[in-house]
Structures are given as structure tokens and as C-alpha cells.
Symmetry: C2
Amino acid sequence: MALTKKPVRGMKDILPREMELRQYVLSEIRRTYKEFGFTEIETPVVEHIENLQSKQGGDNEKLIFKVMKRGGELERAIASGNPDEFCDSGLRYDLTLPLSRFYSQNQAQLPTPFKALQIGPVFRADRPQKGRFREFVQCDIDVFGDGSNLAEIELILAISTLLNRIGFGEKYNFKIVINDREILRGMQAYAGFPAEDFEKVCISLDKADKIGNDGVKAELLELGYAEPVIDKYQALLTGIGTQSSDIRSLGDTLSGVMPTSITENLAGIVDAVSEVESVNVNVEFDPTLVRGMGYYTGPIFEIRAEGFAGSVGGGGRYDKMVGRFTGQDTPAVGFSIGFERIITIMLDADEQVPGAGNKTAFLLEKTLDAGKTAAALNEAMALRSAGATILVEQMIKNKKHQKEQLIAEGYEDIREFYQNPIGR
Amino acid sequence: MALTKKPVRGMKDILPREMELRQYVLSEIRRTYKEFGFTEIETPVVEHIENLQSKQGGDNEKLIFKVMKRGGELERAIASGNPDEFCDSGLRYDLTLPLSRFYSQNQAQLPTPFKALQIGPVFRADRPQKGRFREFVQCDIDVFGDGSNLAEIELILAISTLLNRIGFGEKYNFKIVINDREILRGMQAYAGFPAEDFEKVCISLDKADKIGNDGVKAELLELGYAEPVIDKYQALLTGIGTQSSDIRSLGDTLSGVMPTSITENLAGIVDAVSEVESVNVNVEFDPTLVRGMGYYTGPIFEIRAEGFAGSVGGGGRYDKMVGRFTGQDTPAVGFSIGFERIITIMLDADEQVPGAGNKTAFLLEKTLDAGKTAAALNEAMALRSAGATILVEQMIKNKKHQKEQLIAEGYEDIREFYQNPIGR
């Protein structure tokens, strides 16, 4: 039987052109984050099923690729008749949960604070659609053990430096919008929503982009909330600006239900990054920003690029997740860049990788003898040791086609090696 | 319930020290192979189960991590009662099979010959043991569409250049041993083994390292082969040297059962790489080399490092695998470097990553005001944009411990920022 040529449903092969761009962006990510003192780590692609299903992953928990048990364990599970028992692990759907497990497990060998960079594939059995794949790469930076807003400040500076380096400053005028889960909580308390409905109300509020404020209001009414409560919440948002002074004045308004230290902390982030001169940092307060994941406990942020809907990255503080593993909470804040989104935008804009370098092809006539072959190889090796790309291949019969193909691959310099050069 | 801190059985977390070394070796791999005209590609971690179980993977097919079907498909499979139907895919156990699928699927968009570099995790549900993990990284280079031995020559030069760059020439005096599956076949025919038993006899021959020639003889006798046949085979190996001339004289001996073009092809590889002066290439003929995978069809090679049992990489020609996908055979030859083995050897030798660069830590007093914080951040950003690593963190109470930890992390230069410098 012939084998299957296509990749599995919803996953993709990556061809050289895209791969070159991906590797360029990854090398800029590694170089930039390293300058900020982040060190790279790695966790397995396969994670315990009980960790993946621990309610830290939100809707992603519905999208797990489950890995079957093996051998006797599988036989016993099948005999038990309970399909939930057939698997013991699954493919990770994000990097945050495995990183928290990693930190919990290896804390004694890591510095405090610990600044981690993690890059790797994650998997979600989502309905495949254009530009969204079931396997994709995430690139996260996280700081563990720093409860101060210096962690957020450094994250924002690192992200901004990176985005400028890969052209997202100049070309797409990126900005980072920022809010705080505690401020969302405070605003809901101020308006009169019950504290225990926090997540539920957030889900409705998060739809303002798509269904508008009227749509949100209709949905909240339908959920049974009183109109004055909803109106009071929406009025709170009206006319709020994007500056640190706006955060502080919102803090004053909410001072009856929330300590102003929360708004002061967030305003301090905006102030600090705004005073950095050497890099273009564009941070705006947005009290409507919600972020989906329930594990966030403090400041949250999202990157937007001009001309593109949705985000090109996001993150926030999640001070309670490590405690799920260790029993003791540890401050944690992370930022995940939208790597695949960024690559898609750059590919669509036909971005070229800078300094692709000099590439030369050596075409060796089939009948070249050992001595002449050795001479050609020695010449290729010498040029390579100076950093040049030298492709050595046999000359084929249809040399014209071969050369056209090589030029298309970026080999503008093509040299031919003949056994007997005279008369050619 | 507390979550599980350990990685799943047989897989591992990778800490910063190891990761730095891995990234260094990976960057040398990418740089070196690029100089030889290899372009990087990627295939999904998840592969069709029917491809993984197509008898191309040898014993690895017994070690597949199977991925369960989802939703209605899973329900129907469970209702069917046949556990073989519960999965539709699995985690790849090597990169060769997915690469052959990739080439078959994307051939029209790729040059001929196509020189591919693929780096990625593979998975085998092996019994965990020291230094062997169930998830590990492979780094393969492969050439498709070149049936000449120029493909093998270039692969050997590329591997040798890489091994020299990462210190395996100088320190471990690596060598590449080389043989040809057709020569093995010719030798067996010459001795009188039945052609249809080729793979079976190879499995016994491959044990010479472990059980010696007498052990191999005993095993072959037990399998029912006649003593004169076995003796004739073993006599053939006696006194054979490692040079290209030895390959040619073996070819003469076998000329009744095998065309000498096969030995000439292999000898030509040894000759060509030996004449390259600019890089230390050490290639030796070894007629006992078998290589486990049944898919090899021509020259096979293996890298050995002095002082270490087993191999640190290997490969060979597999001209029939693409045909399993497309119905049309395509010449293919590949080389997989033993990435994890190399990393283990380098870690055990406490190898340092060259040019780890200047690293400075800025410790910011907790009470630093906005202006002084901004000044410190601006200074950090300026140094970073010149390529330095600047770690900015809050000064903790136990400053002595903090500084010791930083020094251990390689931050020999530590600067302290106080709100009021006077009197400190």
C-alpha cells in the first residue's frame, strides 16, 4: 500500500523559504532575550494528563491530543472499559503550564529571580483554518520570584526591543496595551457585579471587540444582571484615556473597593517604560483588556500591530500557578510572543532575511576525474571556511534548467568544472 | 490535588547550563551545514500511524507513542472494540520517514538535488536508562535526487567540518567508518548464504562487537547455516585493511557475484574525501559495519569517537523509501548526527561555550524612585544595544547571597543602584 504523503490533518510541512525566516526571527529572539539575562530551558512535549487537565488551561483543555498508555497498562485500561483511562499523558497546549512544573521541580538549582526563555512546539486539536495549525511554535519569556513591577517593566522592554529589531516598530507601529486583572475585579465590584461571577462577567466583557458595547450589555442583561449595574460599569469606561494619569484617576474612583497600590503599580510600569529613550516603547492603558486565561492574577498585556486584527502576543502575571505544584505561591509573570502570527505577517509582506550572504554553486561535470574533483572540493572547502555557502553538485544534462533553478534559489554565482575545458 | 512536578517518565527537563551548550552546538550545526548548501525544513512531530507502521522503522515501530483519535471518531473506534483503531497518528520515532514523506509531498517546489537539514525532537517509548531518553533531538542532513557518490562525499565533508568545529577532531579523534549494504550482500552471496536471508544474517553479523566472531559463528550455526559457509564469510574479513585499495581488492574477490562498480563507488568516496586538505577527515573502510535499519540500499557510515563505545552518528543511502510514497524511487542519502550523545560527552567533559560574552548584573534598591530607576534602565538598554547581557533585578535583603548566586551564574560584574549613595 502506498504511504500517505500529506502531513496529518491541521499540521504542516515547513519549506526552506519559510524556515529561513523562522530561523532568522528565532535567532533575533534568542539574541535579544539573552541581552536581558533570560536563559533558555526546555520541557518535554509530552506532559502528564492530570497536569494538562488541571483547569489551568481554560478552553485549551478541550483540545488535548492524548497519548495512549502502552503494554500492560493499556491492556488493563481497556479491560476497565473506561476511555478516560486509556491515556496517561498528552501533548502540551502551551508552554506556561510545563514551565510552572519545571520551576517547581528544579527550583533548587535555579537562581532567584529566575528569568526563563522557552521556545517549542505546542499542540491543539482545534478546527483547522487558514493560518491556524494544530502544531505551532510558542516563544515565552517568564520571570519567577519577582513580585515587583520591575519584572513587567523588563518584559516590556525586552519585547519592545525584539519587535523593533524585526521591523514591527517601523512597519506596523506595534503597541502594548496593558491592564490588570485586579482593576477588572475592582471595576466589577464598583459597578455592583457579584465577586463570584468575576470570570463569567469577564467572558462577556471580552466580546466588546466583536459585538460592541450594546452587544455586551444585551448579553449581560440576558445573563440576569441588573441594567443599572451594567450601565455603571460601561460609564466607568467612557472617556478613560491611555496614560498613566488615567490609571491613577481610575484608582481614585475605585478607592472604595480596591487599594490604590494596584493602580499605582500599573501606572509605575507605564511611567518607567515611557522614560526609556533608547528603544521605541509604546504602552497604552486599556481598561477593556481582559485576556482569556483564568490563571492571571495581576497586570496583563497584549501586543497589537497596526492593520492587523487580534494580537501578536500577550501575557500577564500568574502568581498562583507554581503553588498548584508546590503548595507555596511564587510570583510569576510571562509574555508569549505570537510567533506564528509574526511569521505569517512577515511572509505575507515578502520580508527578506537580512544578510542572506554570498552563495555560489559549483557544477561538476559527471566525468570529472579524481584529481579535478579533489581540486574543486578543496576550493569549495576553502571558501566555506571563510563563511561562504558553496553548493557542490553534479552537472545534469539539462544544464540550462539546472542553472535557472539555482538562480531561483539565490545562487547568482554559478561555476562550472569540466574535465577538459578547451573547446567548451 | 497537587499537580505532578516531575517530567513524564523517561523524559527530561533541560536546565540553562545544558541548554546553552545545546544551543551552541545547534548554531554550529546550522552555520556549518548552511555553508554546504543545506536548507532547513521542518515536519510535524505527529505523523500518520500507517506511515509510522510501514516497516521502514525496524524495531522503532514497537516503540511508538500513539495519539488517540478524538470526538466522534474515537467513540466509533471504541464501539468497534478494536484497540488498533483507537489511534490515528503517533509521535515520530525518527526524522527520516517524515522527511521522505515531506520530499514526496513537496517535491515540485524543491530544487533537484535537494539538500535538507532537519532538526527536531523524536520519541521512542524505550525502557528509560542512563543517558537515554524517550524524547530526544535528532539533527539530520539528507540529499535527495543525487545518485552519484558526490552526495556521500559532501555529507562526509560537512559532518567532518562540523565535528572539527565542536572539538571532536582534536579531543576525540573522531573517525567515520564506511561500508556498503551491497558489499555485505555480495560477501554473503560469495560465502554461500541464501540471498533471501540477507537481513537475518546481518542481524547476527552485527553482534560481532558484543559477542565476538566465535559468538557470531555459534549463533549462525544455531540458525542452521553450514559451518563452511560461515567460515568462508569470516575468512573473507580476515586481514582486510581500511583503505580504498582494500575496498578495491575485496571487489576483485567478489567480482563473480557482484559488479566491481559497487566497490569502485565506495573506494571513490574514500579517495575523494582523503584528498581534501583544509579539513581533518578520517574515513576508514570497515566490512563488518552493518547499520540496523533495513531501508539502507548502498553506502552506510558511522561516526566513532575515541574512548567512547558505540557511535556518535551514522547514516547511509536509502534509494527506495521515497518510492514507498510516490511509486517512483528517488536517490536519497542521509546522515544523522548523534546530537544527544555529543551533548552528553561535552557535558561530562565540562565543556564551556566559547564567547559566553560579558554579563553584568544591575541590582536596584527597592526604594529607588522613578527617575533613578529610569536612569538605570536607560543605561542597561544602551549596553544591551551594544550586545552585552545586562540582568536588571531588585536588590533583595540577603544581598550577599544574591551576589554569590549571580557570580555562580557568570555575572562577575555586579553594579548596585541606591536611592541615596552617600554613606553606603
